[in-house]
Amino acid sequence: MPGLRRKTATALAVTTSIALFATACTGQSDTGADDDASQDTSITFWHGWTAPSEVKAIKENIGRFEDAHPNIKVKVVGGINDDKLNQALRAGGSKGPDVVSSFTTANIGKFCSSGAFTDLAPFIEKDKVDLEKTFSKVLLEYTQFEGKRCALPLLSDAYGLYYNKDEFKKAGIKAPPRTWSEFLAVAKKLTKTKGDSYETLGFMPNYHGYETVVSHYMSQWDHAYFDANGKSNIAKDPSFAEMYTFQKKMVDELGGFKKLEKYRTTFGDEWAAEHPFHLGQVSMQLDGEWRLGMAEATDPGFEIGVAPLPVADDEAADYGKGYLSGTIMGIAPQSKKKNAAWKLMKYMTTDTDAVVQFANGIKNVPSTLAALDSPDLKLDPRFKTFLDIAKHPKSNTSPGAVDGIGYQNTLQDFGYQFEAGKVKDLKAGLEKTARQIDTDLAKVTR
């Protein structure tokens, strides 16, 4: 019965294959704001913080808002990453959020261009919020895309250099390095080998070494990801080749990719107490301002120093700058309570007292200009380094794009191959990567 067999086979194949599917596509909803925010109402706020101290700080901040606006109750949902956020924004529904936040500033292009976040212009105009006087240029830049303002900054992150002062003293190093060449020399001096591994590594340069990602390195070179036509600039702008070359040099001179990768597998989780910097496994760490509080909380047994990251050797005058990012806040397009949502958002992002107290609680850099200069900021004196980085005119961030962090991931993937020695021709590799970025962007805008 070959015919019957074939039919059975086809039927079975179709049935089993269909079972592999799971796609869900949903539409969009009304974007109007006709709710009365002076009436009793409740809204939902989604955020990504998870550490107990951070969750406590959020709770206190929301408590202050509710005290000031007794008619608005806020339901807070934590631990939300961009995957969950994006899916909820697309799915909509009554259980969805009204106010949302994300740590991924580079996703702003996707959030604004697709309509995932509501356009805030009417709300800002109605309440006459002067954004230029409230926020710095970089923060205003990473919360809008091509003129469409769909988010506001809620606290900010500045990236700098953490170093083990005790190890510095032992090695006779007087001050933190200011250029990348000095940095490499210091990293080598601090490195102590043990067998075919390390007792202490001066610095973990590999791209999987937590915050040592392409965009954070790049911030210390004068660079432009895209040209005036919106095309990838990475093969034309020599600073990209300089950064990749220097990072590879660090990898090679600190022991080579394989040896470093093996050592990296002995590290604890980035967000756990067993972070390699806390344990003295590495003497220097590229990290955000939050690391200071996290490291001190684990009582690491050495004095922690903080400084700006080094800059390119021929750009020494720019020392003091750094990479800036932060939390962005927006309003869900499906929200039926946009006016109430805007009240919460305006309070959390622009009220100086709210921003200062939240920054104190969560140990992040404040986002408004007034809060940055506030005498009420109760942060560790070393935190001033990060405040200065946040104010530095040359501090920068990665620009938004219609594919969100897609172009950053492509650059990162190239970095993994280059540092491992799998790409020999850097120029050709960058040209190919640039073409890939342009193709991906064109695909989204087609």
Partner: protein, 314 residues
Amino acid sequence: MATQYTLRAKRRKSALRTLAFLSPWLIGFAVFFAYPLVSTVYFSFMQYDGFTPPTWNGFDNWSYLFNDFPKFWPAMQNTLWLVLVMVTCRVTFGLAIGMLITKIKSGTGVFRTLFYLPYLAPPVAATLAFVFLLNPGTGPVNSVLESVGISAPSWFNDADWSKPALTVLAVWGIGDLMVIFMAALLDVPKEQYEAAELDGASRFQRFRFVTLPNISPIILFAVVTGVIAAMQYYTQPIVAAKVASGRMGGSGQPFEPGYPEASTLTLPQLVYNVGFQRFDYGTACAGALVLFVLAMAFTALLMRRRGGLIGTGD
């Protein structure tokens, strides 16, 4: 005329009754299988991000997937690798362990339990344990290997070893196959072995000409279900990649699957990544259809070839 009318009415009634009894399945099939399939085909020709209205873009998604998306072919190769190697290893080891245990005279219960227990471990917990055991820097497996002078691989941290590491993990959890094979092996008539022995058949000949034909339907079942499971492989590689890369979470950034160097990226992961992380539903639908065609081809091939596997008389 009246008789004809009654007969037709009876037939219609019978057909309606059949349909009524079938309706729960038919509704389920239409809603959960047929509609998603038709939608997937439809959206594979659209540019759609979930917010802006979908627009027709012809074969752009297909062309992008096959020609411009650098992770598609690695994901395809990884999936095929897992289908071929992982399924082969699981079936071979499952059969071998099953045979071994049926031959053991005493303590069978203990061995059955020992080999079955790993199957009960939740996939995430089992993967976490394996990443810990096979950690190149701190794992006990590499410490033992290196202490006896063997240059140990980096397992989940090395693109060349990540899939073999996943295969080791899959083979460790063959308890389900072992039990099925044991039941099949114990069902083989003893007289056939006795007859073969009288005819002077060697141990291998007894396995080839008595055991194998008797258990071939079970082998086919193991292979077909194994292929389907390998094509749906998602949890273990993504957990292994997250843990081994040191990015378990916290920063809020979505995790790009495939670490290291896209070596653990499977087609289902790619479909999820493109659809629900990049929000390019059109390309994700095209990817899902590739998975569909692949699964259909494998299943059809296996079912067509079952004559050879089961035996012509079956």
